[in-house]
Amino acid sequence: MTSNGNTTYLRFGLFHRLGHFLIIISFFGLVLTGMPLVFKDYGWAHFLYNLMGGYPTAGNIHRICALITFVATFLHFAFLAFETLVRKNRNIFWGPESLLIQPKDLLNILGDILWFFRLGKRPQFDRYIYWEKFEYLSLMWGTMVMAVTGFILWFPVQSANLVPAKLATFIDLPSIALVAHRYEALLAAGFIFSIHFLHTHLLPENIPVDEAMFTGRVDEGHFKHERGAYYERLKEEGQLEELKVPPASSKAKFVSKLMGLPLLGVGLLMVGFMLSSLICSLASVFVDLTKNIHFDIFSIFAF
């Protein structure tokens, strides 16, 4: 990694950093109060659940955090509406600036697969790399599923009565919501705490924390290395100068590390707990399945 020069560029504005901060706060609250219910058979879940305040309190924290997520989601959609309707900015739906999957991304994926097997150079990425787009889209989808099913579970009586009585013997809305909420939560928590962390913060060049999302700034060398196409495009269009900002103060860097590292630790710890519990559960299922099979390992020495 080159760290030449003091030139730093703005990657995320204050609005997006605020959105990310709100999502961090609410997501951690949601996971820490919700995950113990999924892994109810394990000691760490009991400890964590009691740490978060036990039965009514943990649930209330969960609901408050859900409301914070709604605020963040509302801000995001308000931003999208403002960009498209007021500023007439089409770039967020199509083109290199968009967070939606573009034809170029499919080429990038192919290029990356070739690069994995040392068959070519790594493609130059634009503003958003393809896996970041997948993360964004799955966050959007996940938030939607979690919000709808969460509301059904929050108001089970009212939501169940939305189903007509004739269908109710076949469609049990609260139960469906519980299954979807639980496994979507596992998917989201597992994804954020392992894949997202490893993809952004724990990459060899970013370890331990990618400060760009906290300070909003990225230095030139890192920028060129990570998003070459974006850098070149900005340079050609002459927009690079506009994004030039003074480097982050050491205080801001310290604060972002101070915030990022504990959250990183908690997230990785959660993944560890979840993974080990999953292995234990699978082992018990295996024992359950094979308890009627009697196989004497020493019978191989019989002849």
Binding site: H46, G54, A165, I171, I176, Y183, P204
Partner: protein, 342 residues
């Protein structure tokens, strides 16, 4: 003392007729003193008199006890924890030890070597006090089914056992008791226990919160009148379910009452029966039909789908992660080498 005073008065009277009275009074006085100061005699009428010995580990120990109903032999401590007793359902002001256990009026203490005769009387919960719940239980369909299947009926104390010992009968809302009954119902109904744990009620109780705001087995299925949920008379029958669910979910009605409290999607037996139904489809299409028509099928499909999504997502992104890590590290090493060459 009163009798002594009496005698002196009567002696001063000095009549012949009074002499008999004097002697008899003296005799009764003697009896009074011997009875008052003899350590041999016990009249356990008050609770405090029982507790005098039964809270002292030096006085009482463990006794072998044969259960009068089940014939089970067990070692029972004769020690009574006063606090636990007062916290129990029978710990109020109006209850005395001798309400259930016989008193010591006719016990010959010399014959029993200082103590009293063991097993004064087997405790009988039913005859004088709890005949109504016992009758509803013993004549209910749950008990009848158990008799039909030759399963031994539980005694009162099987379920109503205290935390420290069977002797402290817990109150209905006692947290230990509520937790304990889940395990005791689940001990036989293992399949329903497992599926209960997959429901939100069971998840919360598994984490140790068993207060009355979360449903345990008895909150939905009733305490002594345990009828099959398909029975319209049961607490989960179409009419009664409104009240049963409405205790916690105000306004429960209509579609909400069709809730599946026991989802089967983690039950291996359910998948086996589905496979059997699929194999027997030509002979007996109704078997598979009933599985497809049941509300469990949507939950099961959703569950299997999510397991698939989870496996695919983590397998794919995990591989991507590892490969890109490896690639970055190799590129870095290459970069260093090329710099070195220059």
């Amino acid at each position: 003392m009163v009798s002594l005073l009496k005698t002196t008065i009567e002696v001063s009277g000095a009549s012949k007729a009074c002499r008999f009275v004097f002697i008899s009074c003296l005799f009764s006085c003697l009896l009074f003193f011997t009875s008052a100061f003899s350590s041999e005699s016990l009249f356990a009428q008050e609770n405090s008199e029982c507790f005098e010995c039964h809270t002292d580990p030096a006085e009482v120990g463990d006794k072998v006890r044969v259960d009068p109903v089940t014939g089970e032999v067990e070692l029972v401590s004769m020690l009574v924890d006063e606090d636990a007793f007062h916290a129990s359902a029978h710990g109020g002001e109006d209850f005395y030890c001798i309400d259930c256990h016989a008193d010591l009026e006719d016990v010959d203490l010399e014959e029993t070597e200082g103590g009293h005769y063991p097993n004064l009387q087997p405790v009988d919960c039913i005859t004088f006090c709890h005949d109504d719940p016992a009758e509803t239980f013993l004549e209910g369909s749950h008990a009848n089914l158990m008799r039909e299947k030759g399963v031994e009926l539980p005694t009162c104390k099987h379920c109503h056992a205290g935390e420290k010992s069977k002797m402290f009968t817990p109150k209905a809302d006692d947290l230990y008791h509520r937790m304990d009954t889940i395990g005791k119902c689940g001990g036989c109904h293992t399949e329903y226990y497992d599926s209960y744990r997959n429901n939100l009620h069971g998840q919360v109780t598994a984490l140790g919160h068993v207060d009355t705001d979360i449903a345990t087995c008895v909150d939905c299925h009733g305490q002594h009148t345990i009828l099959n949920s398909s029975d319209p008379e049961s607490t989960l029958g179409p009419e009664n379910a409104k009240e049963t669910c409405g205790n916690c979910h105000p306004g429960a009605s209509g579609s909400f009452l069709k809730h599946i409290a026991h989802p089967q999607y983690k039950n291996l037996g359910y998948y086996k029966s589905a496979v059997v139904g699929l194999l027997n489809f030509r002979k007996d299409p109704g078997q598979l039909g009933s599985i497809i028509k049941s509300p469990q099928i949507i939950l099961t499909i959703l569950f299997v789908m999510y397991v698939g999504i989870l496996v695919i997502t983590f397998a794919q992104f995990g591989t991507h992660m590892l490969l890109s890590w490896l690639g970055t590290l190799l590129d870095e090493r290459k970069g260093k080498e090329s710099k070195h060459d220059k």
